[in-house]
């Protein structure tokens, strides 16, 4: 009984004094800041540009040194526009107890219970006006990456649209054991900045499978197509490791 009581005191105290925290994102290509319209190269030597980056962040939690989580409510749409900054872009504001954390976790995607409601009745960041509703396959596009491939025989647009409940992307940036990840939130509040390395998407997967834009069917990656399933899972796993804490 008394043990339980002691355990509760700090929780009550700290949650009473929440500190404002801003989540910011830097878009990267490798370790360089992304520039829309600049030409980059995949490991396989295909040249490309990025034109659009848009994704949902939901089910965010900060991880305490003892592994407990401070869950943050909210769903945001991170929307990087071509003529707007790509570095230090504020995507979410939250309130958490100040103190030491060993990491952050979140999902890229829309929670299942919100993903299948009638989109005509939902408000931003959901709903039709988000531009993320997937007209042909009910539910939202969780992340949307679009660009141009500069192929030897001309430029071709490509899109990666991932959605459906099976492609919700869990991102886990915490490390209780080695303590490499440390987030300190002072009582006055702070910022957590993440790097998102978009070039990670194009890394080869098992058996060397890669997103080869010279194949027309791979320029339109959508949901569950059996034709593109292998590459979708390669991109999916690549993307779940594409976020890191900016130092």
């Amino acid at each position: 009984m008394s043990k339980w009581f002691l355990f509760l005191i700090p929780l009550v105290l700290t949650s009473a004094m929440a500190a404002p925290v801003e989540l910011k994102i830097n878009l990267r290509i490798g370790d360089q800041p992304l520039q829309f319209g600049q030409t980059y190269q995949t490991p396989q030597g295909q040249r490309y540009q990025i034109n659009m980056v848009k994704f949902y962040i939901s089910e965010v939690a900060l991880v305490r040194p003892d592994g407990r989580e401070v869950v943050v409510d909210g769903l945001v749409l991170a929307d990087f526009k071509r003529d707007a900054p790509t570095q230090g872009v504020s995507v979410m504001r939250m309130e958490v107890p100040p103190g030491e954390y060993r990491g952050i976790r979140f999902n890229v995607g829309v929670p299942r219970e919100l993903n299948h409601l009638d989109a005509t009745t939902q408000q931003m960041p959901l709903g039709i006006n988000s531009g993320m509703f997937w007209a042909w396959n009910p539910g939202y596009i969780f992340y949307r990456l679009e660009g141009t491939a500069l192929l030897p025989d001309g430029n071709q647009g490509w899109v990666i649209h991932m959605g459906t409940d099976s492609f919700r992307l869990p991102v886990r940036i915490h490390d209780l054991q080695t303590r490499r990840v440390r987030i300190h939130i002072p009582p006055s509040g702070g910022t957590i900045t993440l790097n998102l390395d978009l070039a990670a998407a194009f890394q080869p997967g098992p058996g060397g499978a890669f997103l080869d834009w010279s194949r027309p069917e791979l320029r339109q990656l959508h949901g569950l197509s059996p034709q593109t399933r292998l590459i979708m899972s390669v991109v999916y796993f690549n993307m779940s490791n594409a976020f890191s804490l900016a130092q």
């Binding site: 531009g131 009910p138 679009e146 059996p226």
Partner: protein, 327 residues
């Protein structure tokens, strides 16, 4: 003789059903959150024919859904969107589209309001972003005014799709020779078409099991044995299931004469070739519908079936001034 009587009863039952449907065809379901008003329908019509709804100002809904071809793409197997980008699918008719329970060839989109997000934002169709669309419409005084009158707010992607849906729910076609015959005009259909109708609604042609009722569709995705190996996987693209490969929503056959070429990829050029496909039983594949089998129709029956399909053409639909671009 008994067999004959049975067939006759089936035909009669089908006909009586169709008569009832033709004379009092059901009212289009209107979703409670998007009631029809004349102003909204008129706004939807303007938007439907307006190329300013596309990124490079060259494509409207009507670029692919052309009124004179019953809102299909007039002879093109697949359609071309902004920047000359070609899609991979045949543009379906919008005849009586307000009744469709599932939209797109997979039939997975549940309502017209949501469906329209597809073409408006797809790279290979109109390629618009929600903010760009809203700003562009707001900058056109006529639209800025009309959206406020109809929706009480500035234009958005959402209200654009609501107005488009309202217009599309008016696209009704019930004045084909077939409809007039159902309504009691004994001379509306040719002898050949009447014979073809019997084949269509009997086990010999077996078309009516999928092309059901007076809408000629069950709105269910099915595999009609078009290919042994499908390039476009159909419903499986959405579900990821092997058993869904090659399944496409049964299309309506109303105005079918005007919507060539046929099938999801526009691969069959004429109605006669379509009927020959069914007569062969199609191409063997694992997911082929159980109804697909060689039919053994005679050349005469094939011609009759084609005549019947042509009796589903409603010219008053394609010339209706209410469905033409506003002046």
């Amino acid at each position: 003789m008994l067999m004959h009587l049975l067939t006759l009863t089936v035909v009669m039952a089908a006909l009586i059903g169709a008569v009832l449907a033709a004379t009092h065809h059901p009212a289009v379901p209107i979703p409670p959150d998007n009631p029809q008003t004349p102003a909204k329908i008129e706004l939807g019509r303007k938007l439907f024919f307006d190329q300013r709804l596309s990124a490079d100002l060259t494509i409207s809904c009507a670029s692919c859904h052309k009124p004179e071809f019953a809102f299909s793409d007039g002879g093109n197997a697949v359609s071309t969107g902004v920047g000359g980008r070609r899609g991979t699918r045949n543009t379906p008719t919008l005849t009586n589209v307000g009744f469709r329970q599932g939209l797109f060839w997979e039939g997975r989109s549940t309502r017209l309001e949501l469906q329209a997000v597809g073409p408006l934002t797809a790279r290979i169709e109109m390629d618009m972003q929600p903010e760009v669309l809203a700003q562009r419409l707001e900058a056109i005084p006529e639209y800025a005014r009309a959206f406020r009158e109809v929706f009480g707010e500035a234009p958005t992607l959402k209200t654009t799709t609501f107005a488009l849906a309202a217009f599309q729910r008016t696209l009704l076609s019930y004045n084909s020779p077939f409809d007039r015959f159902q309504a009691g005009d004994d001379l509306a259909m040719s002898e050949a078409a009447l014979r073809g109708m019997e084949v269509f609604f009997a086990e010999s042609g077996d078309c009516f099991h999928c092309h059901v009722g007076s809408e000629f569709t069950d709105d269910v995705p099915r595999n009609n044995a078009l290919y042994t190996v499908y390039q476009d996987l159909g419903l499986a693209l959405a579900t990821g299931l092997d058993e869904d490969v090659g399944k496409f929503k049964t299309p309506t056959l109303r105005n079918i004469e005007l919507t060539a070429p046929y099938m999801h990829d526009g691969s069959i050029k004429t109605l006669r070739e379509v009927v020959e496909h069914y007569n062969r039983g199609g191409e063997p594949n694992l997911n082929s519908d159980v109804l697909m089998r060689p039919l053994g129709l005679s050349e005469q029956q094939i011609d009759d079936l084609v005549e019947f399909l042509k009796s589903l053409t409603d010219r008053s639909f394609t010339t209706n001034p209410a469905f033409q671009p506003p002046r």
